[in-house]
Symmetry: C2
Subunit: 307 residues, 2 copies
């Protein structure tokens, strides 16, 4: 499935070499090395727009402040070492402000991602999710001591108890449920507007993808589904999900909606969906997911008979 935003990251992550701290340090020391700064998890972007890469000297004050381990090794772009660096530390506000020059600014990841050149949004997904993980995992969950980045930022280590910690990726099922010639979309409780999307939920421990689809649809909409079919997947760095897109067939069309989770859920005909898609997602009294979300691709594929 093509056109899924946040996929297509072109970097070679050099998973074996990055375990060697000297190798990572040598990559950062390369004159060609480039660093993507993120301020409060928003990447620097150019007017184009594209990712606002800087060379290492431009960020040296931040590296001096945060430590040589702070730049996270993302991978090699045709041999060019690429790093990400969080510059949200209050002590770096002056630097962050001074970086907003030469037509650069901080971009909202969700808004900017679909506008970036192919592949750049994948790099952004990686950078945002890993930096966020580091920012919220400064302590060892096993013993409570402080941890420090290792392996170019691909993990953190606890010097006190020896535990290694790796970034988490939370698998989420998102499923378009169909019944005869209609599909099921819902508006989440407490959500603004009249945005309607596919049902979704985190996969629980001890659960397969197919079981999670069945459980979530039952819990949220009160309808049993069978014939779960995998469609495509999408990295979703808010903060660290892997969206696993599926289709499923409902055994009936009676719904029993969980009002704690959903404000409303209903069946939409193929004609309704086709008209809304043709209008850029705007239906009568509802809006469909935008192309940045895999839900859009599920809906479109279903509407075009590709489910």
């Amino acid at each position: 499935v093509s056109g899924i935003v946040f996929s297509g990251n072109p970097l070679d992550r050099a998973s074996n070499q990055r375990r060697d701290a000297d190798w990572v340090a040598a990559r950062l020391a390369e004159p060609a090395a480039r660093v993507l700064p993120l301020h409060r998890l928003r990447p620097m972007v150019t007017d184009a727009p594209s990712l606002g890469w800087l060379d290492v000297p431009a960020l040296q004050p931040a590296i001096d402040r945060l430590g040589a381990e702070a730049p996270i090794f993302l991978g090699l772009a045709d041999g060019v070492p690429c790093f990400a660096l969080g510059v949200s530390d209050p002590a770096l506000e002056e630097l962050a402000a001074s970086l907003e020059a030469e037509g650069r600014s901080w971009g909202d990841p969700r808004a900017i991602a679909p506008l970036l050149p192919p592949g750049d949004a994948g790099v952004l997904a990686q950078a945002r999710s890993v930096l966020d993980w580091h920012a919220r995992h400064g302590f060892c969950a096993a013993c409570g001591a402080t941890t420090a980045p290792r392996t170019g930022g691909a993990s953190r280590g606890c010097a006190t108890c020896g535990a290694s910690h790796f970034p988490r990726t939370d698998p989420v099922v998102i499923m378009l449920v169909e019944h005869e010639d209609r599909c099921l979309l819902a508006h989440g409780a407490g959500r603004p507007g009249n945005f309607h999307s596919a049902l979704a939920g985190f996969i629980e421990p001890g659960e397969s993808i197919e079981e999670a689809v069945q459980r979530e649809v039952w819990e949220e909409a009160g309808v049993r589904v069978r014939d779960v079919r995998y469609f495509a997947s999408q990295p979703w760095p808010f903060p660290a999900s892997l969206m696993i897109g599926c289709f499923a067939r409902a055994e009936g069309d009676h719904l029993d909606v969980d009002q704690e989770e959903l404000e409303t859920a209903r069946w939409f005909t193929r004609a309704e969906i086709a008209a809304a898609l043709a209008a850029g997602g705007a239906g009568e009294g509802y809006t469909l997911p935008q192309p940045v979300a895999i839900a859009h691709h599920l809906v479109r594929a279903w509407c075009e008979g590709r489910s």
Copy 2:
């Protein structure tokens, strides 16, 4: 795909109700409530074998010692509340020993799972992965303070900084690579025996399922693949993986094996695999994955032309 061990958990997890501590406490107080004790992550099992459920009074000394929050709510089995309880605390050794009566013992999860009645292995997967997560996440990764179980053990909370923490589920791709009429199996570096299995690896931040398959095969075996097809998934509670089984087609048959990861990798003909499967997995100079692993089902499906 049927017959995948650790899938088929029949419990109703009651995801909404379990958020209410009073509701969970009332379930534990039901006379019909049953608890699965695990000692060092090994479940109590009967001779049958089946899971060795006990009533709450039989485990009251452990609950008194560990606290009322220690039994983890697993779900409802036709309305009967089911819990899991870790009894590995050194102070509970006497209780653990006394429980090993009436034909019960502690079972090795991997060995016992395929022998359990359908669905029981799924319950075991849930119990083992959640208890292990609790045991290794007593502290807040955000601030280092101690955390405590919440929502019937479906999460932990930090009273100091307010953070909520949820069990992690690590998505892993496991892929059978095919080229013309052969498939690729490998023997991991440092692994005993001559066990050969499909390539596998953790999905990285900012990566789709399909991209992870391509990266891992390239890193480990030096061959490019395309046409990645999802097959089935499996919960794998060692400690908390979600195995995502795929097929992929190699662009060539030349291999460049990463010796740090793999001792050897080679192509196997369909005839070789068919003969080995017919011999219970024993080939000439290699053994195939056993049915407990999704790799077995990948290999069998490929051999039978279902890839």
